[in-house]
Amino acid sequence: MSVIKFKNNTNTLNKRSGFITIVKPQSGWQFIDFRELKEYRDLFFSFVWRDVKVMYAQTVLGLSWAILQPAIQIMIFTIIFGKVARVSTDGVPYVLFSSVAIIPWSYIAQTMTQSSQSLISGQHMLGKIYFPRLVFPIAPVLSKFINFGISMLIISGIMVYYRVYPSVNLLFLPIFIIMMMLIPAAAGLWLSSLAIRFRDVQHIMPFFIQLLMYTAPIIYSASTIPEHYRILYSLNPLVGVIEGFRACLLGTPILWHYVWPGVIVGILLLVTGALYFRRMESIIVDVI
């Protein structure tokens, strides 16, 4: 739908008004209305905070789940892929190798899942009140970040144990963290708007996430991919993020030429996702 807001100085109703809103049938493609988002900033943070509070409501372990869950996964992977299958890890101990990848991956997987569901779980609100629908898929990106922060403690613990000291590469970590947040945001925009119309998406998600895990160098090392396929492989933004995390935290050289393709694809997905979401936004309530 088209919503145009601009100041009208002749309106004397009250200080805050002076808005004119025009409601009309949507036409064409529109991008994100940043001004509207800014106005609903408080709402966005309320949603994030609500997600965080509710996540471990009435659980005994509470926030320690943020540590337990990845810890268990790391343990299992180390035993199966490190000891039993003996996957090559370029000389890095498997525990270290996998934990550095599993922590960001957990964040991505959980956020993507929650984000794709966001419109469906919020459907009772959609028909009753208006606020920018973007809040739904984007709120999990921030709320799950808290979990991510806590589980990074595991990595620090393991790094201390293996006496891996922070290198200059650590300065680049913020870039990869941003990319790490961008991917589920883009996926969430696409998946949530598709899921609301085609519930098939909900059924596919668990399977999809499982597959995705194998497309990134989490269990195995990217160096095992043959050279001539590597660029194609790097088009997957997940690859860039995981490799980047590894390089930043373990001090190995960052292979930028294998990171850029993923970044570009990621940004493209984000932009197209935003456009598609906005286009579908106005009809959500009618097809839900």
Binding site: T12, L13, P25, D42, R50
Partner: protein
């Protein structure tokens, strides 16, 4: 202070939905298999068709079974500060109109212009999460309704006070009774300060006490100069709170004017609330070879026929009839019945010139005056009847021949004064009260009484 600028301008808005299509039955296995293979594509087409309506025309009387026009070409304007009611049967498009103005859904055609900040109350407690405490839900719900965090902080104590759940404000909402939840939700909504408010039958939920509170609050909102659009089925509330009402039917706007007129039109849709009933031909006119009733009318003191009667003013019931045979003594009377079917009274013509006397053949016009400040608000029905007394035979009776609407304009000099809420009683006489005051008290703080 009413600002003459337009707060809401609705121009030719239409909205259509595609409703469920009946599946085709297949009679052969081959057809069924083919349909299953083809079906992902069909399903996709069907989902797409839910919102693609390029070729449709709201004005055509569609015979298509798959399209429903929830709104057809609605246009109206609302001035800043007006309180407007929106009424209509279920399915007439009221909620859809509010949803479109709230930007929840897009119109299919047309546009609307809204000046000022708009808040809509289509439901109380939107977004309440049962795991969070009352306090946390106030912040969450307030944010969802459009309040900034600072605003909520500032009004927090007022909101808690209004809701009456202060003791439980820090327990999770899932432990609240449904009444508490509704009160808390309404307390948040009641402290919004938008320029324009859209309210949809929110008051239908809750007990009597709560409904009273809501009505009072709504009245406050109206008096603060905010523009209000109020959708309701409670005609009393609509007449009392809204100076102007819009009537929707089947998606079309069929009436827009002073509330009492529009409400009468709505209420009278199954029964006639016309203030005049006339018969043109002897064959139709009630009665027999002795007497015929030609007309029943309701008039004001100035002689105007009117359906809407001021509660303070007298109501004149007029019966026009013809006596066809001489030497009969007649009893001319009518019943006054309220909208619940309760008979308020039966009254007999008592003009001394004609009572108990045989009447000559001719035309008669009997007028009965019901004094002002006697009747209660609502719609009242007049059922006239005429008997002959020697012997006693009822010659005619017309049930609900005419009806009129008694309205209290709340100027302060009727029996309800300026009191807003529902008053009971089938009559509303303005009685005389006297109150004496003395400083000498009967109860003293240091004396045992």
């Amino acid at each position: 202070m009413r600002n003459e600028s337009k707060a809401i301008k609705v121009e030719n808005i239409s909205k259509c939905y595609r409703i469920g299509l009946k599946e085709n039955m297949h009679d052969t296995l081959a057809k069924t298999v083919f349909k299953t293979i083809k079906s992902p594509l069909d399903n996709y087409r069907r989902y797409r068709s839910l919102y693609k309506f390029d070729d449709l025309n709201p004005d055509s009387d569609d015979t298509r079974s798959d399209i429903i026009w929830a709104l057809r070409g609605i246009s109206f304007q609302v001035n800043a500060g007006e309180v407007v009611g929106i009424i209509g049967l279920n399915g007439s498009g009221k909620s859809t109109l509010l949803k479109i103005l709230s930007k929840i859904t897009d119109p299919t055609r047309g546009r609307a212009e809204i000046v000022g900040k708009l808040s809509s109350l289509l439901e109380v407690g939107t977004g309440f999460h049962s795991e969070l405490t009352g306090r946390e839900n106030i912040y969450l719900n307030g944010a969802i309704l459009g309040m900034k965090k600072k605003e909520i902080e500032r009004k927090f104590d007022e909101i808690v006070d209004f809701s009456g759940v202060e003791k439980f404000i820090d327990t999770p909402v899932k432990r609240y009774s449904s009444g508490m939840r509704v009160r808390l939700a309404f307390a948040v909504a009641a402290h919004l300060e938008p320029d324009i408010v859209l309210i949809d039958e929110v008051l239908a939920v809750g007990d009597i006490q709560f409904q009273k509170k809501c009505l009072n609050k709504m009245q406050d909102i109206g008096q603060q100069g905010r523009t209000v659009l109020f959708v309701s089925h409670n005609m009393q509330a609509v007449t009392r709170l809204c100076s102007r009402t819009i009537l929707l039917n089947n998606g079309k706007l069929i009436a827009d004017g002073p509330s009492h007129n529009v409400v009468s039109a709505y209420m009278g849709s199954d029964k006639s609330t016309r203030a005049v009933r006339e018969w043109n031909y002897p064959a139709d006119a009630p009665g027999d070879e002795v007497i015929k009733l030609w007309a029943v009318r309701i008039r004001t003191k100035d002689g105007l026929v009117s359906e809407a009667m001021d509660i303070r003013k007298p109501v004149y019931v007029e019966l026009e009839y013809e006596v066809l045979q001489p030497n009969y003594v007649f009893l001319v009377y009518y019943h006054l019945i309220n909208s619940d079917g309760l008979e308020l009274f039966e009254t007999i013509e008592n003009d001394a010139s004609w009572m108990d006397r045989p009447r000559p053949v001719g035309r008669y016009l009997s007028t009965c005056c019901i004094p002002g400040n006697l009747l209660s608000e609502g719609i009242l029905y007049v059922s006239p009847a005429i008997r002959t007394l020697n012997p006693e035979i009822r010659r005619l009776r017309v049930n609900d021949a005419v009806a009129f609407h008694v309205i209290d304009s709340l100027d302060g000099d009727s029996a309800r004064g300026t009191y807003m809420s529902n008053l009971g009683g089938v009559v509303r006489p303005l009685l005389k009260w006297e109150t004496h005051f003395t400083k000498q008290m009967k109860t003293q703080s240091n004396k045992i009484t």
